[in-house]
């Protein structure tokens, strides 16, 4: 369904929100922050520098030199390690050679290329020592831009930075001074997708360098000596003419996150750079905005009003119904829904659904405050149990006395967290009442959608658009029926003609474009899902039906997730058949059935890093494992990468050698400042093929359950009083 790119938001929406977010994502103080070059790497104009961006920062860059455009996503993975993905468009590629030679690589008017970079800061800048960074540019695959470098940058005062470096590969194509390690073998990239280790730091080396001078908080002058001769682009392709190694330019810091630059490049052209730098960790608008909570209602002192503290209310036959009604009266059902209450003389347990709060602590805090209004004075202990489709996920225990005493205490967030306990949900109290009005529940939505496919060699951005009608009927606790239909209104996508390289490998994903194109309208999902708990902390899911656009069948999953642990273990087993590409109900076109399954481990490494390992059998019948590393932020941002290695050879897999890509999750609340649980996922695959493919399933347990564990709660514990 999403072999190249999965995107659930419109591109326009993302950019709209990105632009709205500009302005307050960087520290308020005017600093001489590191800037980026035309490659989107931290650096000068075309050359890198020894600096790095602040930890966790996420960059979007567009650099333009003549007909050459470079679009780069960069991420500062750790304080020292950063990575970039670049998509280059080299215009006028065949102007010199075609005609007469219009074959092979010369058939392209514009040649598109993908680059991966990685950089590591060896040394932080000190009083006397410069910042030192070692980097690999375009180090995987065809490596048109392949280069390695070591760069040093020293700041003098508040206005001047000086950079000097030594480049290899492409960065030694002008002014080389000799060889350090040995000759540089020619790149044999084969099917691509693999690092060209044999070339790194070999062959000629050439110096480069430059200066940055900050003339005001907004303006910076840059000058550099470049060691890149643009041999291919200038001499062979004549996209522009390299006349000089010197580049000069000026950059304007338009907002705290947006920077633009214009440069005189290589004595021939004017180059431009447009750079957005975002700190995902901090919402640009600060805290999440939304109606304030109901304040705590304190109980009168028992000495003054002993009648309020009696437990005679327990004898009333409709006591629980009245308590349930009182809870519902104080809560907005669009945000929180009470599923069940159970009580004793001094303890009340509320099981609830969090409809809208992106922070578990905020949902718990609001329930706790509502309980101070609804529950009789004799109830001292509040047990608050977040439910997900009928599955109790944890139990947060709060003392009412603490609520009353700490509401306006200094540092109230920390103070109340110290008194709260979080444990396995356990069972409800003996005397309980379920909210019968909650189910069955029908939800629907009608939203526009854009389905994109990227990186086709001739049309790098292809898109379909239309409307998606989704419906979700929850008939009873944990049993729901989901359906979604896409109605295409326009656009066209076509697959890469080399997508399927080995007819022995089932076309489980290489026909994605056919499905997208022919499915009009397309029933993307129609399935029944059972969710439940088999034992304490052991969750289960079974899905039957049309599971996704390309497959239908049965999918079962279990996951063990202890509340107070940083890890979870899961397993899934699926038997599916490939659907017809017309988006209808049939399974006969491909006549392909397969059993797939995985054992999965999920580990929260702390400090914002999560690892996932899935090992098992994939859709094409290949066997292997997927390794995913994500950097996570408390507010919901996730940025990471994955790679899948199976028993398919690189030749069987095809171009790219193995499945890999980047994964992003953008919380909508970050952009809008409004409370919402909507997450916008985005998966970027340089090449999508049949090897290493998995089912695209909704309601995976790992996405539903862990939000209420201790560690997840504590990431946003301060939101309890929000």
């Amino acid at each position: 369904m999403r072999s190249f790119l999965s995107i659930r938001l419109t591109v326009m929406t993302f950019w709209l929100m990105a632009v709205l977010s500009l302005g307050s994502t960087l520290p308020a103080r005017a600093q001489f922050l590191p800037s980026t070059n035309l490659n989107g790497a931290t650096g000068l104009i075309d050359m890198p520098s020894g600096e790095s961006q602040p930890d966790g920062y996420f960059g979007l860059d567009h650099g333009q030199l003549a007909a050459m455009g470079r679009n780069t996503l960069s991420f500062q993975i750790t304080p020292r390690l950063s990575g970039s993905f670049r998509y280059m468009a080299l215009g006028n590629w065949n102007r010199k050679s075609c005609p007469p030679d219009c074959k092979g690589i010369n058939r392209f008017d514009t040649y598109y290329d993908r680059n991966f970079d990685v950089r590591f800061k060896l040394l932080n800048e000190g009083k006397y020592l410069p910042a030192v960074t070692i980097g690999l540019q375009d180090f995987i695959g065809t490596s048109l831009n392949m280069a390695e470098y070591i760069a040093m940058t020293k700041t003098f005062g508040n206005r001047l930075k000086v950079t000097a470096g030594l480049g290899f590969g492409r960065m030694a194509s002008y002014g080389a001074i000799g060889t350090l390690v040995g000759p540089r073998p020619k790149v044999d990239f084969g099917l691509g997708g693999l690092p060209n280790v044999g070339q790194w730091f070999r062959g000629q080396a050439a110096p480069f360098g430059g200066i940055e001078f900050k003339i005001s908080d907004k303006l910076t002058l840059k000058a550099e000596y470049s060691s890149d001769s643009y041999l291919v682009e200038s001499d062979r392709r004549e996209i522009f003419t390299h006349r000089s190694p010197l580049n000069f330019g000026i950059e304007y810091q338009a907002t705290k996150a947006l920077r633009v630059g214009a440069y005189s490049m290589y004595g021939d052209r004017i180059g431009f750079n447009f750079s957005i730098l975002i700190n995902p960790a901090l919402r640009p608008l600060g805290g999440v905005r939304g109606p304030g909570p109901l304040p705590v209602r304190p109980r009168p002192p028992i000495a003054e009003s002993p009648e309020v503290w009696t437990t005679t209310w327990l004898d009333q036959p409709d006591a629980k119904q009245r308590l349930l009604d009182a809870m519902n009266a104080t809560l907005d059902k669009n945000e929180l829904e009470v599923e069940q209450i159970s009580v004793t003389a001094d303890t009340a347990q509320v099981r609830f659904r969090n409809v809208n709060y992106d922070a578990a602590s905020q949902a718990v805090g609001r329930i706790a405050r509502a309980m101070t209004h609804a529950m009789p004075a004799s109830i001292e202990t509040f047990e608050i149990v977040p439910m997900v489709y009928g599955m109790p996920t944890a139990k947060v225990v709060v003392r009412r006395t603490d609520m009353e005493a700490l509401e306006f205490a200094p540092d109230a967030g920390n103070a109340v967290r110290a008194r709260i306990s979080i444990a396995e949900a356990g069972r409800p109290l003996a005397d309980r009442l379920t909210n019968t009005e909650l189910l069955p529940k029908f939800k629907w939505s009608l939203v526009p959608y854009v389905q994109t496919m990227l990186f086709h060699p001739r049309v790098p951005i292809q898109a379909l658009y239309g409307v998606r009608l989704s419906a979700n009927l929850e008939l009873s606790r944990g049993f729901l029926i989901s359906a979604a239909v896409n109605d295409k209104w326009g656009g066209k996508v076509r697959s890469r003609n080399r997508n399927r390289v080995d007819s022995a490998i089932p076309a489980v994903r290489s026909d994605t474009a056919v499905y997208l194109d022919q499915g009009d309208p397309a029933l993307t999902v129609l399935n029944a899902v059972w969710l439940g708990k088999l034992a304490p902390q052991l969750y289960s899911r079974v899905s039957i039906g049309y599971l996704e656009l390309m497959f239908g069948g049965i999918a079962a999953e279990v996951m063990w997730k202890p509340v107070n642990r940083r890890w979870a273990i899961g397993a899934d087993l699926n038997y599916v058949a490939q659907r017809n590409s017309d988006g209808g109900l049939g399974f006969d076109t491909y006549d392909y059935r397969v059993a797939t399954g995985f054992v999965s481990g999920y580990f929260d490494l702390g400090k914002g890093y999560e690892v996932q390992l899935d090992a098992g059998r994939y859709l094409a019948g290949d066997v292997g494992a997927t390794f995913t590393l994500m950097r996570t932020f408390a507010n919901g941002w996730k940025i990471g990468a994955f790679a899948t290695f199976t028993n398919l050879s690189a030749k069987q897999f095809g171009e790219g050698s193995f499945d890999k890509g980047l994964k992003f999750e953008f919380p909508l609340s970050w952009f809008t400042g409004q409370g919402t649980r909507t997450i916008l996922p985005f998966t970027l695959r340089p090449l999508g093929r049949d090897g290493g493919a998995r089912l695209n399933l909704g309601n995976r347990l790992i996405r539903l359950v862990p939000n209420y564990g201790t560690y997840e709660y504590d990431r946003q514990a301060g939101r309890f009083w929000k």
């Binding site: 659930r8 938001l9 669009n334 306006f408 200094p410 540092d411 939800k443 909508l668």
Partner: protein, 225 residues
């Protein structure tokens, strides 16, 4: 089919983003944000602080007829102005809220917390109103916030009180003889000045109090006691 779609298109676009499924991608919130950001000030509700005397007195008369204690609260940076009424009291702190959900919690007129503004003052510690009223000496304030990553941020300020000149405060068409006190607070990262106007009954009639660091102070005006 194309004709059907061309007829359906406008309706679908109107419905786009509609539904009851709050978990799905919807554009309602971002669109609302855009509308709020780009709505010219002139098209918003006229400020109660800018009403002429007759109009202001008319509003005041309506509020007095309702008989509820009322504050007029203005957050200039967030372009918020609203009337607030008490919705709860705990440990001597009264929480006042607007109909749209913004709220401030005051201990005898001193802001101790805010909610519903986004970058809220989560909790605080500071001098009592009686202490501020003296208009002399040093005080200390502690403010607690959540940053954009929901991490706790604490700031301690050293403050100095000073008496200002007596004067008249005009609040929604009515004038009050007041005595002004200023509280100048500093921190290595920045400073602010709180201003307090006490009336003849020593009620804190009007104040400008720092709530969100880096933003303009919150203006709190007591309209109906």
């Amino acid at each position: 089919m194309k004709l059907v779609r061309s007829l359906v298109l406008p309706v679908a676009l109107m419905l786009a983003g509609c539904g009851t499924n709050r978990d799905s991608t919807d554009l309602e919130a971002p669109i609302q944000t855009v509308v709020e950001r780009f709505t010219p000030a002139a098209l918003r509700q006229p400020s109660l602080n800018l009403l002429n005397t007759n109009a202001a007195l008319s509003v005041r008369a309506k509020l007095e007829a309702e008989g509820r204690p009322t504050l007029l609260v203005t957050h200039p940076t967030l372009r918020f102005e609203g009337l607030m009424s008490p919705i709860g009291q705990n440990a001597g702190v009264v929480t006042w809220a607007s109909p749209t959900g913004e709220a401030v919690s005051l201990r005898d007129g001193m802001v101790v917390a805010s909610r519903g503004f986004g970058p809220d003052l989560m909790s605080s510690a500071g001098p009592s109103t009686a202490r501020v009223q003296t208009g002399t000496g040093a005080t200390r304030r502690s403010y607690f916030y959540l940053d954009g990553a929901d991490a706790r941020r604490a700031f301690d300020f050293d403050c100095t009180l000073a008496k200002g000149a007596s004067g008249t405060a005009y609040i929604l068409g009515k004038s009050y003889a007041t005595t002004k006190v200023t509280e100048s607070c500093s921190h290595p990262l920045g400073s602010f000045v709180n201003e307090y106007w006490f009336d003849n009954r020593l009620i804190l009639r009007q104040s400008r109090q720092a709530v969100t660091l880096g933003m303009e102070s919150l203006l709190v005006q007591r309209i109906i006691d």
